[in-house]
């Protein structure tokens, strides 16, 4: 039976249950970090809103997924709990969606770009990197991942759905 797991802003979810779909809505400058583990068909997603938890003054613990530096380790922990991480993280395929941009010549509102860069830096520090990405642009994205197929579907109003 199909079961939808919704991920809110700063939330995360992981599953390897057949029929499950993980979905997050309306990614603006936020980035969905998606991890796939083909040997177990495990899938995880975290909806990252900001690059760095240092601005949370110690309040990031309740919502680790909100920040790139705490969200990715938290998702890895979830994946590990499902048995979806091997001796190294290299068996995980990582894909990124979101990070829409605001063209701000003052370089203040460029949170989308900063999120994508922060996510990559955290992944690199863990010996990982994105296999594919659908980031940037000036539009909102909704993304879902099927546990059965690992297929990532992206939608945005006024556009045909596409796969990553």
């Amino acid at each position: 039976m199909s079961n939808l797991k919704l991920v809110g802003v700063g939330g995360l979810a992981a599953s390897k249950t057949a029929g499950d779909t993980i979905k997050t809505f309306a990614l603006g400058s936020c980035v969905a970090v998606i991890m796939l583990h083909p040997p177990t068909r495990g899938v995880g997603m975290v909806h990252v809103a900001l690059p760095d938890s240092s601005i949370a003054n110690g309040n990031a613990d309740s919502r680790p997924g909100y920040f790139a530096d705490t969200g990715i380790p938290a998702l890895l922990k979830e994946m590990a709990a499902l048995g979806c991480v091997g001796p190294s993280n290299r068996s995980l395929l990582v894909k990124l969606v979101g990070g829409a941009k605001v063209m701000d010549p003052n370089n203040v509102f460029t949170i989308g770009k900063r999120n994508v860069l922060a996510v990559k830096k955290v992944l690199w520090s863990l010996g990982m990197g994105p296999l594919a990405e659908d980031v940037g642009g000036n539009f909102s994205r909704t993304v879902s991942v099927s546990i059965d197929t690992g297929q990532i579907t992206i939608s945005s109003p006024g556009k045909e759905d596409w796969q990553l």
Binding site: A26, L27, S29, C30, L50, D104, V108, I111, S156, G158
Partner: protein, 293 residues
């Protein structure tokens, strides 16, 4: 893209919208006054039985009451603060507009309210960074009301989304409001302004609604407030509270630096504070099965 609807038809739809309640209107006038206080708010609310009942219901929600029963309006308003009172008053007064599913934008019921609430909180958080003083309560209220024009023109935009998105992506239009003007002869800012005028809202709020996408077009005395809401609107879209097809399809006015002194490190802090406050308010309002107000 050809214009399908006349401005007259849209204005006719606007004039079918009920007038805002006297108490909500009175609260908006008070929010426009520097130096007003909670007693002013209490005096207005206590004359409106339905609003008083709603406020007491929310303050006794699990998120706010924490086991205490609160029966005094003064105490309730002190606990909740002016922002939440204003949010409830305005959402009650314009419930039909806020709860419209914006089919012309591919937005669901409640999306407009969530976007406006997040914009309101963000606008208020930005006011300390304004180079000229801006009334934080007015910024909050302006954020709540800035996009009400969408509820009126949405029906007229049904079936246009794919065409508009393609036109923007191929560079034909700079932003979504420009496409609305081409399609309808007016955009949601124009129609929101007409509504604000019909409701007799204070002049600063009329200007915020009219100029929130292009604040430089506002008269100089209103520009700081318009820039504050302009940036609050962007923050709401960036953080996932958009209204469908137009989310992120608008431009920042780079001249904001003449009015707002924000740097790269300020913005993430503001976004996190907005998220925290947004969750508190929506949780309080959704307790007892109310859903979005």
């Amino acid at each position: 893209m050809t214009r399908k609807i006349s401005r007259t038809e849209i204005l006719a739809a606007l004039h079918k919208v009920p007038l805002i309640s006297p108490s909500a209107n009175h609260l908006l006038q008070v929010a426009n006054q520097e130096g007003h206080g909670l007693p002013d708010i209490v005096n207005i609310v206590k004359c409106d039985a339905a609003l008083t009942a709603h406020i007491l219901k929310v303050v006794n929600s699990a998120a706010l009451a924490r086991g205490r029963e609160i029966t005094s309006l003064d105490r309730a308003i002190a606990i909740m603060g002016e922002d939440m009172i204003m949010g409830i008053a305005i959402s009650d007064a314009a419930d039909r507009l806020f709860q419209t599913d914006l089919q012309g934008y591919a937005a669901n019921r409640g999306d407009l309210w969530r976007h406006d609430l997040r914009t309101a909180i963000a606008a208020k958080k930005i006011t300390p960074f304004s180079r000229q003083p801006v009334n934080a309560d007015l910024a909050f209220t302006g954020g709540l009301l800035h996009d009400l024009g969408k509820a009126i023109i949405s029906d007229f935009l049904k079936g246009t989304i794919a065409e508009i998105v393609t036109a923007i992506e191929t560079g034909r239009f700079a932003d979504y409001p420009a496409a609305e003007r081409e399609e309808l002869g007016v955009d949601h800012c124009d129609i929101g302004f007409e509504l604000a005028t019909a409701w007799g809202l204070p002049e600063p709020l009329q200007n915020v609604i009219r100029h929130h996408h292009h604040p430089l077009e506002a008269a100089e005395k209103f520009r700081p407030l318009c820039y504050v809401v302009h940036l609050g609107d962007l923050i709401a879209m960036m953080t996932g509270s958009g209204t469908g097809a137009d989310a992120m399809r608008c431009n920042i006015d780079p001249g904001y630096t003449d009015y707002i002194d924000l740097d790269r490190d300020d913005l993430p802090r503001i976004i996190f504070e907005v998220e925290t406050e947004f969750n508190t308010i929506t949780l309080s309002l959704s307790d007892k099965g109310e859903g979005s107000p």
